[in-house]
Subunit: 287 residues, 2 copies
């Protein structure tokens, strides 16, 4: 079990994930909880809800003496933030981790900054989220039963990896380990591609006459749900992982073209093959 009562936790970025981490830390009696945000305005919301023992816009001050430091900011901001953090006096066993949805870029950025400074870094990706961003949407239980992918490499400190693994498990995550590039390929297929598919389905379904959606049953709602995600956040994710997404998106485009050809030719036997394969594949995961 993760020793919450011995830990000083510093969360950088009180958004949906960061805010939910604060709630979990509070509920579990973490010895000291600190939060850093870019703006005073964000910190006020944290203070109002008494989510942390201290709240600051100074990353070095927030990091000083912390055992576990979690980057919960956009991936593009992580390396710069890590550069501030490693300038603070940290305990020898301090570990920096993150919640970014891409991992090769994070390891090459924040991970490399930490490695050069001799600070342990472990890449994490808890597969938890919601369409609604921000601290307002933060909630306890967000990580319960979520997969959390850890992406150690040859340079990763073993004890640091175990510590981060134990932390996520304590929050209810099912942890797994895989290489950063493999991680990025996997999430391209299971998260980023579904997002692009939902966006394309929304545009094709709603554009001719959006008012017709009033007649839809649950199929339209669910197939398009994630297209309500925050555009600025998803732009960043999709751009950062575009190398891994491109082959997946090419597959989606090709399959859509095949279905179009099948339907154009009224090839119902072939159509059935596609419908059956999709149902069979999906049944491997969902009952």
């Amino acid at each position: 079990m993760f020793p919450f009562s011995d830990t000083t936790l510093a969360v950088f970025g009180p958004g949906l994930l960061g805010g939910s981490l604060l709630l979990e830390a509070r509920a579990r009696g973490v010895r000291e909880v600190r939060v850093w945000a870019r703006s005073e305005k964000s910190l006020e919301k944290v203070r109002e809800r008494r989510l942390a023992d201290s709240a600051s816009t100074d990353a070095r001050e927030t990091a000083r003496g912390a055992d576990l430091l979690i980057l919960a900011v956009p991936v593009g901001a992580m390396a710069g933030l890590a550069g501030e953090i490693v300038r603070a006096a940290l305990p020898a066993n301090a570990v920096v981790t993150d919640v970014g949805s891409v991992k090769a870029a994070v390891l090459a950025g924040a991970g490399e900054v930490c490695r050069r400074a001799g600070v342990a870094f472990v890449g994490s990706h808890p597969m938890a989220g919601a369409e609604t961003p921000g601290l307002e949407a933060a909630k306890s239980g967000l990580f319960q039963n979520a997969a959390c992918l850890l992406t150690p490499d040859a340079s990763t400190d073993h004890a640091a990896l175990e510590k981060v693994d134990a932390f996520w498990q304590a929050l209810g995550c099912r942890t797994s380990r895989l290489g950063a590039s493999h991680h990025d390929e996997v999430v391209a297929r299971i998260s980023h591609l579904p997002h692009l598919s939902a966006v394309a389905a929304t545009l094709a379904s709603f554009r001719p006459d959006a008012s017709m959606a009033q007649f839809a049953a649950g199929g339209l709602r669910d197939t398009t749900r994630v297209a309500s995600g925050l555009p600025s956040m998803w732009r960043e994710i999709l751009m950062e992982n575009r190398t891994a997404i491109l082959p997946a998106l090419r597959d989606l485009h090709r399959v859509t073209g095949e279905l179009l050809e099948i339907l154009t030719e009224a090839d119902d036997d072939h159509l059935l093959v596609y419908l059956e394969e999709a149902r069979r594949l999906r049944a491997t995961r969902y009952a």
Copy 2:
């Protein structure tokens, strides 16, 4: 309000929709509830659950004297069944309706059979369903708050239309009326296209390594949910409505291709425009 206590209801096909209709009729005290099924095996399940006053494989016998007759069989079987039904002695105000998910074909088939025999027919499409087919999945409340599209044409008897409308409203449906061809175009966009999109997303996401889906959050599950629908049923629906689906599927293919081009070129401004349009369009229906 629909006069359940005066009605002899005949349901043809005790599947998910037909079975749910039987449950609703029972709960609302319909005077007499009859059911027809193609096989004795299906009827046994109806009898076990005491869902009808009588159950038969003889369509004429089931129809005789009924006021409201509902075809809940696959669309391809409706015209043949209507041919049996109109040979029965029916009250002057008897109305035949259906639950088929395409309407132009139904009106040209079962509708035309009824019209020639001087029996009132009204096309109906309750937008309710589930991935699990069959009587086992039937439940009361299935129609509650569902849209139900009625597709009258110039030949539709006014009293019959009002009767069918009142029936669906009594079951909790939000009824609307539109032409059969318009209906088929609308459901192509809001139901059939989402289905094909879910099938394509499932194939593109799961094919490389289906076991990776264990790491997915709710996005993959929801985006692909309807791809678990019964392949044989969806083959029929997609083939029957292929003329209306083709322009919608062409749009989906084109948009997917545009997203692929945008990502290939790393055109993040353009990507944001797509993400924002999708979010805005979806917000017209879903909060």
